[in-house]
């Protein structure tokens, strides 16, 4: 595989440390194209059947509308996975995002059980894996793969801790809210256009899996 010439891509000033790395997903713009989940799988070579980023198709309870809900690690400020991990393999970066040190992970699934968002999975090597906001991209000034691939600009990555950051202003202007706020984890991924019914519907939203070559549903 050819190495990406990061030094040529890197823009001066880009990739500067963020106070609180975050993302806003505008569901009013999402068209359910799966560009985010596909680009994520490509970027991180995520195995068939596993997802760092998923898109749930949600059927409105009254009406024939289908809505889409991209889900990924919420990079919580109060992340339950951090405390659950016995080996300390899950740690928080300076910009607030949460990452898994694969050299420490023992694959005991405590983090999987602890995550309210089903954002962590066990990969083919038996280790925990999840979205890391594409650290390798953001540290050289690029957007995460999902944000870069989104054709409608529904996914925006920025600094939620900087009031002057366009993404922080977008969050403020559109009153973005958290998914499953009852979990109390203070997520750094927030949504615009998230409606109450979506949280429940997301528990049964369709997700394609390769485990048994069928369309299956997840419930939890």
């Amino acid at each position: 595989m050819t190495e990406v010439p990061w030094e040529k891509i890197h823009q001066p000033g880009a990739g500067a440390p963020k106070k609180r790395a975050g993302m806003v997903v505008d569901l009013r713009r999402c068209i359910g194209c799966h560009a985010c989940s596909v680009s994520c799988k490509t970027e991180h070579e995520v195995a068939l059947g596993s997802f760092r980023t998923r898109v749930r198709y949600l059927e409105e309870p009254e009406g024939n509308q289908i809505r889409f809900l991209p889900l990924l690690c919420m990079q919580c400020e109060d992340a339950p996975c951090l405390d659950a991990c016995p080996t300390g393999a899950i740690a928080r970066h300076a910009d607030g995002h949460v990452d898994i040190d694969r050299d420490r992970c023992c694959g005991n699934k405590a983090c999987v059980a602890a995550c309210p968002y089903q954002a962590i999975f066990i990969d083919e090597g038996g280790l925990a894996d999840k979205c890391d906001f594409c650290t390798h991209r953001t540290e050289v000034g690029l957007d995460p793969a999902c944000a870069a691939a989104c054709p409608t600009d529904a996914i925006r990555y920025g600094d939620l801790g900087d009031a002057d950051d366009p993404v922080a202003q977008y969050v403020q202007k559109h009153a973005a809210t958290a998914f499953k706020p009852e979990a109390g984890t203070r997520p750094s991924v927030v949504y615009v256009g998230l409606e109450d019914w979506m949280t429940d519907a997301a528990r049964t939203g369709i997700q394609v899996s390769s485990d048994d070559d069928e369309i299956v549903y997840e419930t939890r």
């Binding site: 339950p80 016995p86 420490r104 992970c105 699934k109 602890a114 999975f121 280790l127 549903y217 939890r220």
Partner: protein, 299 residues
Amino acid sequence: MQATGISDPQIVLVPFGVPIVVYLTFAAIAAGTALLAVWLLFRGDSAERSAGRRGLLVATFAIAIGGCSLILDLEAPALFTYILRYFNPASMIAWGARAITVFGLLTAFTWWALGRDTDASGAPRVRGILPVALVLIALLSVFIGLYPAWVLAQSTARPLWASPLLAPLLLLSAIHAGVAVHLLGRGARRWQGSGLEIGLVALQAVVLVLYLLQIDAAYGAAKARLMTGSLAPWLWGGVVLIGWLVPLALSRRGGTDKGDSGVGLAAWRAIAILIGVLALRAVLVFGGQGAEALIAAVR
């Protein structure tokens, strides 16, 4: 991690599966057996002290079996040493891993040491550093009986696990498992007719009822799964009927070591109690994970 389809077209992700239930059961057996063994060694007559020593050996094997089950549950079993090499003090699993390791070593050592200092009847004598070791074993037993509840509570995504009542329920159940093992080892004469078993069952019943009552109405579907759904046979049949009522009924029919028929009854009582201990943990582990996982997991 298992992805299992069941009667509904649902996929059920079960981070904590059958090996965890097996671990929790054997950890309970180890903790309860060791706790009562310590009691017998400190307070018992010569026959009971011998039974207490045997109980420590049983506890050693039980925690070893439980530990093996934990290792097998890892998606990458070869990495099990990481849990001991790296330490996250915020994780109850990290503390538990160390506790069961020390517990296993200490029970094995104490069993061995007790065999080297016996009285004329061949019963072990508790002196020297052994009283200290036994107190440590008792403390570790209580911790091992309790800490799974804290591990489950750390999974904040699972509302059925976030209950302070799980800790006393699991500890009482562990002591009940210890009574069962000592029934098998004929070391439970002290408690025959003492009301200990009735007390343990009554307390567990009270805690279980309180636990079911305090489940938030928002999780009514999960509660229904326990009470009347797929887990109901395990709860009412396994825990309540086989684990609690059958042993109590059998205890009214005869003793623990009063001849062959008594031994047979005691064995049946013990087996029934241990089935109840297993069923309780299966109900809690699978019920807490929300979907109709138990059926799928045991298929």
